[in-house]
Symmetry: C2
């Protein structure tokens, strides 16, 4: 099986390599096809996300992606945004759950943030009306709203708790979020066996901060999703600099393609030192395996990660240990049998 | 001194009355001029925010406001939004700090959220392009950006920690948040003695969730501010249903007028039972006193609230006690001397 591998930059090569090792150790043979993105691509091709990388994902359908930096100040558009739009990866998914051994105030968190990935303020429509007056357009269409809400319900169907929370600000954006809310309610009717809630986005923030354990699947538009994804990751975060971002897996799905990625940054300060925490990337790879039909292997990897955190040996510094990327990866591999 | 009092609905009359009692006990004589808003106003005048209420605030300049419900489904625009826009209350301020006796995972939090109140997606410009396609406009102007960032720096000047964090999403909204960011940087140059940081809004969410103690004054556009205000309040929240919203004071400032308000809801389920927690409203009244020149009295009230939470007697149920609005108010009054 051929899968695209975007190593990215900074700690990207180290964490993706760790993920590939774990996948191999789990017994899945993948022929990783490397594709460039980030700083190396910008330097080599003058373009941080070369068209050929998009083409390769279109060809092989699925990719694993490490952190990629969009060089600033050169007018490049964000790699992540272009990936999502170029491949119509309309759904971004972030799975956030409490992990053992991580000292966090919140327990029993087990939620999934589903984010609409193609519209909202990310549609990129802005203009200067007169100097000093700028308008950005927040786009909501029935088609995209329907597609993402359906996606969330399908996800909820496969989880135990059967609840979907639609997050909006329809009292302020009566037309745009009014449309989104109406669509969400209509889709919800097709899933009478799944509990449906609708909540203003500010309430959701408040409730997440107070007690995130009550949520299951949350679905929302692009920018709300950007914010809630990181908030949720922060809540279950470890002590290290990136907190939860070093732990939570991410994935972007479209009708035809899927890109799995650690959503943390490329941490140039520790790049090449062999001390980066590869867990977010390894868990993303586990989701990838499930997506391509290797469900058992994906679950074994996830289980091994949990076990490794529980035992607490070989952990990297951001997790309070003294280990390296190599030691934690070896522990995870060891625990694949556990 | 005459000050407008908007009692609002639900628990509004109870909590505002408690605040008036504490203000009187602190030795400040205020002639409260009642003005209608919320459900009673909608019933009596067919309008939840009658023009005469706005007129009264324009006349007396300052108001204390309890929670007001905007009846839904009748096409009324939000009372809060109309108050802010009608009085050009361009800055919304939410003070969030760790309080004693409240069981929260985060310590040493002491931050202020400054929110631009008149623009962004709250400008109310939306249209349906074709059926199923809606655009909402996010407005950013240089004038409003400048005014709010200056406001934040002025606030930071009076606090000990001298730091301002500007929150944005300029990598996605290059024009609108690009303008806002450029303005923020320029204003920051006028305050070389105050540390200035700029951070993407998603990072801010992550950092707040991980450890909010590093922030001092945060400043941002309208919808970001809506979300971050509630998130911050949630982080220091008590065990009760509204969590931190029952504790944090709020204020809205313009060049000429100011409205101080508890930002929690009107909790119709417990209205009239005498068990509502009045602390958010009492602390808002304390800020009001400082605003109208009674700094010492305001600080004494704030101090008395802290003392009351510390001692833990007479607390309402949402704070884990068995007391009532009356008992907690009496404790606060007793502690005015402490
Ligand atoms: C890099 C940035 C444009 C991106 C986003 O806002 O979507 C990032 O925050 C993310 O969540 O993947
Ligand atoms: C009621 C609603 C329109 C309002 C807002 O979004 O501003 C509220 O959430 C607030 O923060 O005061």
């Amino acid at each position: 099986m051929q899968i695209v591998l975007i190593e990215g930059d900074g700690i990207g090569p180290e964490v993706t390599q760790a993920a590939c090792r774990v996948v191999a150790a789990a017994g899945v043979k993948i022929d990783w096809v490397k594709a460039p993105a980030g700083i190396p691509a910008a330097e080599q091709f003058g373009e941080p996300l070369p068209e050929e990388t998009l083409e390769m994902i279109r060809r092989y359908r699925v990719a694993l992606k490490g952190p990629c930096t969009t060089p600033i100040g050169k007018g490049y558009r964000s790699i992540n945004v272009r990936l999502r739009q170029g491949l119509e990866l309309f759904a971004s998914v972030r799975a956030v759950n409490t992990l053992p051994g991580i000292n966090t105030p919140y327990e029993k968190v087990d939620l999934i943030v589903v984010r609409e990935n193609t519209e909202g303020l990310y549609a990129g429509m802005e203009h200067e009306v007169v100097p000093g007056v700028v308008e950005s357009v927040r786009l909501v269409t029935r088609a995209a709203a329907e597609r993402i809400v359906q996606f969330a319900f399908e996800l909820a169907r496969h989880r135990g708790r059967r609840m979907v929370t639609f997050c909006h600000k329809a009292d302020v954006m009566r037309l745009s979020d009014g449309l989104f809310l109406e669509v969400a309610r209509t889709v919800a009717e097709d899933y009478p066996f799944i509990q449906f809630e609708e909540k203003p986005i500010d309430n959701v923030c408040l409730e997440l901060a107070m007690d995130p354990s009550g949520f299951d699947v949350l679905v929302m538009e692009n920018l709300f999703g950007d914010v809630i994804s990181d908030l949720a990751a922060g809540l279950i975060g470890g002590p290290g600099p990136g907190g939860g971002l070093g732990l939570v897996p991410g994935a972007n799905f479209g009708n035809r393609f899927a890109v799995f990625e650690a959503v943390h940054g490329s941490a140039p300060d520790i790049a090449g030192k062999g001390i980066a925490n590869p867990i977010a990337c390894i868990r993303s790879a586990a989701l990838l395996l499930e997506h391509v039909g290797h469900r058992a292997a994906g679950e074994r990897i996830e289980h091994a990660v949990v076990k490794t955190l529980q035992v607490g040996e070989g952990l990297t510094r951001d997790l309070g240990g003294t280990g390296t990327t190599a030691t934690i990866t070896e522990q995870i591999i060891k625990n694949l049998g556990a």
